[in-house]
């Protein structure tokens, strides 16, 4: 209840919590039965770091992000696995009341297209008071004070923004308002789903530099979910690459970009139009990302588009989804590919 007033004072003092996702499977009910959108995912967010989760449409990245609020909507459900947030416990087993407090409380979430997730009929200030009410904040003046501080920190005219309706704000401003809502109750875990989609380059750069600064100043553990490797490269020290509902590669961002191990990561980096260098080296990826219905039931999910499989035809690619294993190329690097040499002994 007093959380709001202490928000900025306490932020730096409290250590950010680590988040551990273990063996998480999320299924959606479809006419063809329950199909997994996220399959056996292990993802660790070290305390105080920014992790970037990259994937294309249908990769399951947004579903995974929603699971960090235990807010997967029907017809979806968490089938197996746990999501442990330090100091809060396993979200999957948290009582409903505690979970509701944690959403928007300990865990701040900036929704995809925050531009459209604000209520068009209420001013930002009114929505702020709604948020306070739903979380039992008694000190409304303190809540408004925290919101003003956050907005001012993000370079906005706080009084004007609180009095504005969403249509009076630009895309970049709405995105910052979304970040304010996520943090105003003193969250220590921040999840941003596609924070820069639909923003132009300069607004994107502004939002990313704000994410970086706020993350450091307030001592957060942050997950940025995006389809844009460039966004991850700019803000995140760790990258996790997702495809067809599974994580295929993880590691320190610079190392992964420099020497990607998984054929998908490699192909994705090669497919990015760049501003410098020889444009003719870029190659589009053949085929298309799988949907819930077309994710292969057996074998590696990337097999159909994989250049390595096309060349080497490894039988295990057809029969078994490769497990995520450490590779010898440096600390913290994990790859799920039958064709990549792994440090089996480490397992």
């Amino acid at each position: 209840m007093v959380a709001a007033t202490q928000a900025t004072a306490n932020a730096a003092a409290t250590a950010p919590p680590a988040v551990a996702v273990r063996d998480l499977t999320i299924v959606y009910k479809t006419p063809a039965g329950e199909l997994p959108a996220v399959s056996n995912v292990d993802l660790y967010l070290p305390a105080g770091t920014i992790t970037g989760l990259v994937g294309e449409s249908g990769s399951g990245k947004s579903t995974l992000a929603l699971a960090l609020l235990n807010a997967v909507q029907k017809p979806g459900r968490i089938a197996t696995g746990s999501i442990d947030v330090e100091g809060l416990g396993n979200l999957v087993e948290l009582p409903a009341k505690r979970l509701q407090e944690a959403r928007g409380g300990e865990i701040g979430y900036v929704f995809q297209a925050a531009q459209n997730s604000l209520n068009p009929l209420k001013t930002v200030g009114k929505q702020l008071l709604d948020l306070g009410r739903s979380h039992g904040v008694k000190d409304r003046a303190g809540l408004v004070r925290s919101a003003r501080q956050l907005l001012a920190r993000m370079g906005m005219d706080a009084a004007r923004v609180l009095d504005s309706y969403q249509h009076e704000l630009s895309g970049g401003m709405r995105q910052r308002v979304g970040i304010m809502f996520a943090l105003v109750l003193n969250a220590h875990v921040l999840v941003l789903d596609e924070p820069t989609t639909a923003l132009d380059m300069i607004s994107q750069a502004n939002v990313l530099s704000i994410v970086r600064a706020v993350h450091a100043e307030r001592g957060l553990t942050t997950l940025v979910v995006t389809h844009d490797i460039g966004v991850v490269a700019e803000v995140a020290e760790h990258i996790a690459v997702m495809y067809g509902g599974v994580l295929v590669e993880q590691g320190p961002t610079e190392d992964v970009l420099r020497a990607p191990k998984h054929p998908y990561t490699r192909a994705l980096i090669n497919a990015i139009p760049r501003v410098s260098g020889d444009p003719s080296v870029a190659r589009p990826l053949p085929g298309r990302p799988p949907t819930l219905e077309t994710i292969p039931k057996r074998g590696c999910v990337f097999r159909e588009r994989c250049a390595v499989y096309a060349e080497r035809n490894l039988p295990e690619c057809v029969t078994e989804q490769p497990p995520m294993l450490p590779v010898a190329d440096g600390p913290g690097r994990l790859v799920a590919c039958h064709a990549v040499g792994t440090k089996e002994s480490v397992r």
Partner: protein
């Protein structure tokens, strides 16, 4: 070149001016100058890219070119035909030869119709006009799908929701090709496409330029994609309705001299690990605000290098300082703001 069906139609625009009366609280009653005298031209099979932030006027320009928006003054000619002098009825067949590719392929296609039906309508109209047989419609539908790299047998019977975003955008392009366009206006045409498929669409637009001689006007805030479509074309940087830098794409991207262009290029994410940021990378400027002063240089309020002169006088587009490209800055200065590939990667 007066026949709208003749090929080789170049686009020539001179001094296009367009303003809107603004609504809303902040700007109510003000006039927003969407375009303040824009000149550009695209040769047949050529490409021009317009880059700039949201609200800089680039979308208005595309809509004017496609005949979806009028303009206040200036001249626009397609294939040598000056359109401003024609009556609206005589104008429309010319504008039909400019087709728009929108950002969102999900809303650009009717969800209740199959691809076959989507392509059949414009083709049937065309067959009626030119007295072609029904068989031509079928053959042509398959032909345009082949051109955009889709398998007609797979795509024709399907509804848009059964296709991926990349395939849908290809259908949109195929539909545009049914009227044998002279030019395509692609407004953020790949920004909603999955990253792994984006390059395929860009390559397709590039191929259509050379195989069909279609001119492409590419409108985007993403400089890297502009570079792919039009590496051999012209790049225009537009700010608050004024072109502030223009030249061959590679020159402007590699060697920008206007601080606004430099800000745009600085804002492109650096792929740390395989790229290193430019030594003079500028920090992002404050957001665009239409209420910023218009007396001098339009960018002065946000420019880190602005002087008194900049705030009092508006620089014209020219080659001040003997630059290869045209620019509108009193103090053209090369700065290395673009990321460069790390050696060995």
């Amino acid at each position: 070149m007066t026949d709208p069906d003749s090929s080789g139609a170049a686009i020539e625009a001179r001094g296009i001016v367009k303003s809107f009366r603004a609504r809303g609280d902040v700007l109510a009653g003000h006039t927003v100058h969407a375009l303040r005298g824009v000149d550009f031209s695209i040769p047949a099979g050529g490409a021009a890219s317009f880059i700039g932030e949201s609200g800089c006027g680039k979308t208005t320009l595309g809509r004017i070119l496609a005949g979806l928006e009028s303009f206040d003054s200036g001249s626009l000619s397609l294939g040598g035909v000056p359109l401003a002098e024609l009556s609206p009825r005589k104008r429309s067949p010319h504008f039909r030869r400019v087709q728009m590719i929108h950002q969102d392929p999900y809303s650009a296609l009717n969800p209740t119709r199959t691809v076959d039906a989507i392509l059949r309508d414009p083709l049937a109209l065309r067959a009626r006009q030119t007295g072609r047989p029904r068989a031509w419609i079928d053959a042509r539908a398959r032909e345009v799908l082949d051109l955009v790299g889709l398998d007609p047998g797979y795509v024709l019977p399907r509804f848009p929701h059964q296709l991926s975003g990349g395939m849908r955008q290809r259908v949109v392009i195929a539909r545009a090709l049914t009227v044998d366009p002279a030019a395509l206006v692609a407004d953020e045409a790949v920004s909603m496409i999955d990253v792994s498929l984006r390059l395929g669409i860009l390559n397709l637009l590039r191929e259509l330029r050379s195989t069909l001689g279609v001119s492409v006007l590419f409108i985007t805030h993403d400089v890297a994609t502009a570079r792919y479509i039009g590496a051999d074309g012209e790049l225009y940087v537009i700010y608050r309705g004024q072109i502030i830098e223009h030249g061959p794409t590679e020159t402007v991207v590699a060697d920008p001299v206007h601080p606004y262009t430099q800000c745009l290029l600085s804002a492109i994410p650096v792929l740390h690990g395989i790229e290193q940021p430019g030594a003079d990378r500028l920090t992002p400027t404050e957001p665009l605000d239409e209420s910023q002063p218009e007396d001098g240089c339009l960018f002065a309020a946000r420019c880190p290098f602005a002087t008194e002169k900049c705030r009092a006088e508006r620089p014209e587009l020219g080659h001040l300082g003997d630059t290869v490209q045209e620019h509108a800055c009193f103090y053209p200065q090369r700065r290395s703001v673009v990321a460069t590939p790390v050696a060995g990667s």
